[in-house]
């Protein structure tokens, strides 16, 4: 396989295990997001791919080549740091062509490349400016341009959006994703922001407590999280304590519901959690015809924010959120008795 392979990688700092036995394989040209809360080991894993940290155990390969013992400056990578780490003593142009200078490219070659990259990043003509004259967003573009100057094989970004304003972030996420697809470069992004990961990634790796909890396509992880940690980390989820009633059915309070996802992993009689996503559950007035897969409840709050309407329903002590578009509006008010429909295809079973 020609992509990026992480094989049994473990990293210990003294007695602390930062990354434990991580095994991952990615196709070349993919965009991969390491997602997780702070301290989960995602940055350490990225730094091991960069060569800034040495794995305690395991190997990292790219394109069939073992990189584990290759020092960082010989790895052919481009990295964007969380703080951007732009050299304050160099101009924008000199920053961008630093790697070319190290490798002895001629001045004219460097100038041409700096111009080309700045055009690509839509920052033309700023070569001679000093870093302190740039805004946060411009600095990020320069940092990206600098990392890409020598067309590296692997492009690494450590929390690249954290230094930007919220409104700039979304635009840059889309821009970065487009750029990556255009260049077809294998890219690894570390982030704690699930929207960022969902926006950009081909493949998301959810990490927690030094381990990989789940990896897969964004939709896969969103629809079929392996446990309640992943479910809670990616998107909002409704969780009900439940018991397996049959191989594909669970009992929630008095109601029994069919479940389409992951039910086979659990034995009948086992205590589990039933998970649904807010946009896949529907609220109907109690007076309407009762749908098949449903539980009873009472509306506790309605939050109308124009584009969507969120209905909070109290179902026997458990709160369910339903997010609807105005055209599905069931016309209910706080205090109304309702039925909450959870179609089998929207239901997943998680370990309790």
């Amino acid at each position: 396989m020609s992509g990026l392979i992480i094989e049994g990688v473990t990293k210990k700092f003294g007695t602390l295990t930062a990354v434990e036995d991580v095994n991952l394989e990615f196709t070349a040209g993919e965009m991969i997001c390491f997602l997780g809360p702070s301290g989960c080991g995602k940055t350490t894993l990225l730094r091991m791919i960069a060569g800034l940290e040495e794995p305690t155990d395991g190997a990292i390969r790219f394109d069939g080549r073992d990189l584990t013992n290759v020092p960082v400056h010989k790895r052919d990578i481009g990295m964007v740091f969380q703080s951007f780490a732009l050299f304050p003593h160099l101009s924008v142009g000199e920053n961008i062509t630093y790697s070319m200078r190290i490798r002895g490219h001629s001045r004219s070659e460097r100038e041409a490349r700096a111009k080309e990259l700045l055009d690509m990043m839509r920052l033309p003509g700023v070569e001679d400016r000093s870093i302190s004259q740039l805004s946060g967003g411009q600095r990020q573009r320069v940092a990206i341009a600098r990392a890409l100057a020598l067309n590296p094989q692997i492009f690494l970004l450590d929390e690249p959006m954290s230094a930007l304003d919220a409104n700039l972030r979304e635009a840059m996420q889309i821009e970065l994703r487009k750029l990556q697809q255009e260049l077809g470069i294998t890219t690894v992004v570390v982030t704690h922001d699930q929207t960022e990961a969902m926006t950009m990634a081909d493949e998301i790796v959810v990490m927690g407590r030094a381990r990989v909890l789940q990896s897969g396509s964004p939709m896969d992880i969103y629809k079929k999280p392996v446990d309640k940690f992943v479910a809670g980390f990616i998107g909002t989820s409704n969780l009900f304590p439940a018991t397996m009633a049959a191989p594909d059915r669970v009992r929630v309070g008095d109601a029994e519901l069919s479940v389409a996802n992951r039910a086979g992993d659990f034995a009948t009689g086992e205590d589990v959690l039933l998970m649904t996503r807010p946009e896949e559950v529907f609220v109907r007035p109690a007076s309407a015809e009762r749908p098949a897969n449903a539980v009873e409840g009472r509306v506790s709050f309605v939050r109308d924010i124009g584009a969507t309407i969120e209905i909070l329903v109290d179902c026997g002590g458990h709160e369910v959120i339903s997010v609807l578009t105005p055209k599905d509006w069931p016309d209910v008010a706080t205090g109304d008795a309702v039925t909450v429909e959870m179609p089998a295809s929207a239901c997943s079973v998680l370990a309790a």
Partner: protein, 261 residues
Amino acid sequence: MTLLRRLYLALFAIYLLGPIVVITAVSFNAKRFLAFPPRGFSFRWYAEIFVANDWFASLMNSLIIALCSASLSVLIAMPVAYSAWRFGLRYAKALFAFGVAPFILPPVIMALGFLLLYTSVGINGLMINVIIAHAIFLLALPLVTISLGLESVDRSLIEAGQTMGASGWVVFRTVILPIAAPFAFAGFAFAFVLSLNEYIIALMTVGFTVETLPVKIFNALRYGYTPVIASIAVVFLLVNITVFSLIARFSNLPRILGAQD
């Protein structure tokens, strides 16, 4: 309140600048005897510094000693500050503490120590003696400024350099040195100025063979008023101001002096 503040600032400025104004005025005195307000106006006492052989020789001695000792001081300080910062070596940190100590103690103690050292090995009165003595005595200055400079190098800059193909020595040359250099220069300049003005160590190490300007001035003071001293004081003050302005121009003076950015 504003009035009180203005009054205080005015008094402070008068107190600080008063003696300097008087000495400047006196330096332009046309007469050989001391008079303030000055009688007449002339540059003769400035010319005297360069014309009178003995004064000029002392000036050159002082300049050579200051240049060499400041350079030596930076050379000694650089590896210590670098190892303490880059690798956190405990040994380097201990050396650092030893290097700062001479500057904190009353200088006469170090002066006596150098005197004992040089007489006990029998090497007396050479210019190199005072150069080394000053380099050690003033070592704290480049140590502290270089450390400040190194601390201003964000460690991710080093890593960024490495990811772009720079190895250890190249990172030092292309990233660390350019950022820390203004601070090393500041350390050099501080050491230079203080060496130029230093009296007791120069006296005790080479006072009878290589006369530095402060030593010569003191010797002259004992025999009553010498008008050249006033012009030398003004020249020294101007040299000091120039050097510190250069530091302010090329690195961050408030930061070196401990303010936060």
